[in-house]
């Protein structure tokens, strides 16, 4: 595998050459500093561009073209990355060795057409698709509560922070109302001309395809922000929040904050700690709460490096709430007090390392690895595998002492006894 980065005024091109895959993957990211009131309009652009363009006015035209291009896959997703917001376009297509000559170029141009040649008439986005996407986004925002697991995490983040962590990724109705087909086009131009653009391409390729990108991407100088991606949340007292909903299983979401981590703790110890706590079926939480006490089907913890937090989620019966919380707190205390075996650490390291190696098997994970290096200075796979071995039991205990529960959110279901699942 060979990596090459070409830095230009208007974009960075990252080329990863490998002959491991029959497909080629392309990713184009647009990044700028996150602002709460821009999330909705960025979501709008994200959806609109991938559904309609000058050359392919309808999503049907786009779908038909993806079939002509031998089952080419496209997707786009807007997401938060700490202090930044990113619109990410992804494309997967077969290497032309398996299809026909010139298909690589044609496939790349197809995605560029969607992004850089939108369906504009008289300085406005085409009315038909504008209205359609607006309605879709409105439904998405209104149906946030349909996915109860996701909703409890959204609510947890809102309780934990007032800054970027708390912003809703789906956007806000009041911002949506303000978007028009003409101010959206104005905003689009600022994205195309000012956002930082990173392009990743991976596959068995001989060229850089630079001239194609040059042709589409406006040659404007883009300012690189000094602000890091990482969030520094304020610590606060433990607080419990409950919300009621007519569901049969209550959804628990707990947020943990960590004070003053070193760089090494943030990049390595935190992930290992979370793996031991609740990151795998052999973890403390899974073994105690599910296996020993039969209180849930799923319980797990996740370390989020960019916002520097850990979340724990579980689905429980509401009458078991107190007991579950007690057991979770006990598990946290135990690690703090050094009640963990060397075996736990050794196994967590093994899981971490095989996760790293697995990255090499999947083109999109390889891209994400280089991307996190580019954005947040996280280490590349080979370094990660070496560094994780250095984490000691003492490191885990020291980190555990810096961790505290910040918020406990419970989406409380109705009475479980009368509501059975029989059809």
């Amino acid at each position: 595998m060979k990596y090459q980065k070409i830095e230009k005024n208007n974009y960075n091109l990252h080329i990863i050459k490998t002959n491991k895959f029959k497909s080629i993957n392309l990713r184009i990211n647009f990044k700028r500093k996150i602002k709460k009131d821009e999330i909705t309009i960025r979501n709008f652009l994200n959806d609109l561009l991938i559904n309609s363009s000058k050359k392919y006015p309808t999503s049907r035209d786009i779908e038909i073209e993806t079939e002509e291009l031998y089952d080419l896959g496209i997707s786009s997703s807007p997401y938060k990355s700490g202090n930044y917001h990113i619109i990410s376009f992804k494309e997967t297509f077969l290497n032309e060795i398996y299809t026909e000559k010139n298909m690589i170029k044609k496939s790349i141009i197809f995605l560029l057409e969607l992004i850089f040649n939108p369906n504009i008439k008289e300085n406005k986005f085409d009315k038909k698709y504008f209205e359609l996407i607006k309605k879709t986004l409105e439904e998405d925002i209104k149906s946030l509560k349909d996915d109860t697991k996701k909703y409890s995490l959204v609510r947890l983040y809102e309780e934990m922070d007032n800054g970027p962590l708390s912003y809703r990724s789906c956007g806000y109705l009041e911002d949506l109302d303000k978007i028009t087909d003409s101010n959206l086009y104005d905003y689009y131009k600022t994205v195309i001309e000012n956002d930082n653009i990173d392009i990743f391409i991976i596959g068995n390729i001989e060229e850089t395809f630079e001239e194609i990108f040059d042709e589409y991407i406006p040659n404007t100088i883009r300012i690189k922000e000094n602000l890091s991606h990482y969030l520094n949340l304020e610590l606060s007292e433990e607080k419990e929040i409950k919300e009621k909903m007519d569901i049969s299983q209550s959804k628990l979401a707990i947020g943990l904050k960590i004070s003053d981590m070193t760089d090494f703790e943030l990049k390595y110890v935190l992930s290992l700690y979370s793996l031991i706590l609740g990151g795998n079926p052999n973890s403390k939480l899974f073994q105690t709460i599910r296996e020993k006490n039969s209180l849930c089907y799923y319980i797990n913890s996740t370390a989020l490096i960019i916002p520097k937090i850990i979340t724990i989620v579980a689905g429980i019966n509401k009458e078991n709430y107190t007991k579950t919380i007690e057991l979770i707190k006990e598990a946290l205390e135990n690690i703090k007090n050094g009640i963990l075996d060397d075996k736990d650490i050794k196994e967590a390291k093994k899981i971490y390392i095989s996760g790293c190696r697995e990255i090499y098997d999947t083109p999109n994970l390889i891209i994400s690895n280089y991307l996190s290096h580019e954005y947040a200075n996280l280490d590349l796979v080979d370094t990660r595998i070496k560094e994780i071995e250095k984490v000691t039991k003492k490191d885990i205990i020291n980190l555990a002492k810096k961790i505290s529960i910040d918020k406990i959110f419970l989406l409380e279901g109705v009475d479980n006894i009368e509501k059975d699942t029989s059809l």
Binding site: S143, Q287, Y298, R357, D420
Partner: protein
């Protein structure tokens, strides 16, 4: 050990059937770090009434028992948790139950011999006690409730329940909170002994391995164990009628936008095509009629009847194929009429069909590039046709517009069940 290439896909499959009847398939793939191993039994939620091994009468078992058994197979006499064992090498271990099969699996990068032996041993050495069976009921109850809270899963289970009359595919794979409470240790042993016989099972290994070594490891392991000889398992046959059980229902759930779900129940007894073709043709048909490439979807989006794509899925039993269509809409009645009319209008252009053929061929190449897709492909072939289709690429090359049109002409979309899902408030 027999070696057969997957036609036109640069892949070789090694296979061997052991003395005890266990089938083994190995697909080596260099350059990949992971090794993916699955161990499956031809036993899913629908094999619920049968003559148990060494018995002579049909017996019915509580709904959801295959899935319950999947959970309990992880129980070891030594008290060791299999998750624990696999964690030692950083390997992922899991299991799943479908309508048709139960699969135990792990993904590893090292110590393939130890891990493979462990998988075979933990699945083949059950340890059920009254106590550990009781303990599991709480966990599975939470699993079922989690599915209940998901409107999509709930709606899907409801429409399938309403579509079938007698066939056990009607019921959710996990059963219900009431049915699982009835499961006993003895039930579990009876089902286990019948279906977890090697002659009813298969192992599929895909990834960075040496096929010869893999087959040796499995042989050595199996030679140490003794199993009863398994005659063909007699499973109750169901005279499933062509009509649906319930034509219409309205349910209230936690949804913001109402949903419309339609299932078409199609008899396929007079169709002489293989399963792969039937499933593909019906998929192509649905996609061309109401999928993202259809003029129909474009039109109803324009009219703001829907904003998102219409989703569809298929379920096939011995006598029927069911096409389930799902859409979110504020205008359920109007959309219902429109979809029904569109599905019954069987006109498809040849050029549209040929595009789908191109797509099918490309998807074979994508499939051959992933150890997970390759493994699933082999498992599904075995479940559906009891053999691997080595000529899948060629089969797709040979599908024709004429055959497709003849198939579509033969089937009828007259039997349907409708589910309206409305917001709770």
């Amino acid at each position: 050990m027999k070696k057969t290439p997957l036609y036109n896909l640069d892949i070789n499959i090694y296979e061997e059937t052991l003395d005890n009847g266990l089938k083994v398939f190995v697909v080596p793939k260099k350059d990949i770090n992971n090794i993916y191993v699955t161990f499956s039994t031809n036993y899913g939620s629908i094999q619920n009434e049968f003559i148990p091994i060494n018995e002579n009468k049909m017996r019915k078992f509580p709904d959801g028992i295959a899935h319950f058994l999947e959970h309990k197979v992880f129980e070891q006499k030594s008290g060791e948790d299999p998750f624990n064992f696999f964690s030692k090498t950083g390997s992922d271990c899991n299991a799943n139950t479908s309508n048709f099969k139960t699969t135990y699996l792990f993904v590893t990068q090292e110590k393939i011999k130890e891990n493979l032996n462990y998988l075979l041993d933990f699945v083949q050495e059950p340890y059920f006690t009254d106590e550990n069976v009781e303990k599991e009921k709480g966990i599975i109850e939470q699993e079922l409730k989690m599915y209940q809270d998901d409107p999509d899963t709930n709606a899907n289970e409801t429409i399938i329940y309403n579509t079938f009359v007698k066939h056990p595919i009607k019921l959710p794979i996990g059963g219900t909170v009431d049915s699982i409470k009835k499961i006993t240790k003895e039930d579990l042993y009876t089902c286990y002994n019948t279906f977890y016989n090697p002659a009813n099972m298969f192992v599929v290994v895909t990834g960075n391995v040496n096929p010869k070594k893999i087959i040796e490891i499995i042989k050595e392991n199996q030679n140490k164990k003794e199993f009863k000889k398994l005659e063909k398992i007699k499973i109750k046959e169901y005279l499933e009628p062509n009509n649906v059980d319930k034509k219409e229902e309205t349910k209230f759930m936690n949804v913001t936008v109402p949903k419309l779900i339609i299932s078409y129940k199609i008899n396929i007894e007079n169709i002489s095509l293989n399963d792969m073709k039937i499933l593909n043709y019906i998929g192509i048909y649905a996609d061309l009629k109401i999928g993202p490439v259809s003029a129909f979807l474009e039109k109803i989006k324009e009219e703001k009847i829907v904003t998102k794509d219409i989703l569809y899925s298929t379920i096939k039993t011995d006598k029927h194929i069911v096409l389930v269509i799902e859409a979110s809409t504020e205008n359920q009645e109007k959309l219902l009429k429109m979809i029904d009319k569109e599905i019954k209008n069987k006109k498809i252009l040849e050029k549209e069909f040929l595009r789908k053929k191109k797509l099918a061929l490309s998807s074979c190449i994508y499939m051959s590039d992933s150890i997970y897709s390759l493994n699933s492909f082999i498992m599904n072939s075995l479940i559906r046709e009891n053999k691997v289709n080595y000529n899948i690429y060629e089969d797709y090359q040979n599908i024709t517009y004429k055959e497709f049109v003849e198939f579509i002409d033969k089937i009828n979309f007259n039997n349907k069940s409708i589910l309206f899902v409305n917001p709770k408030e």
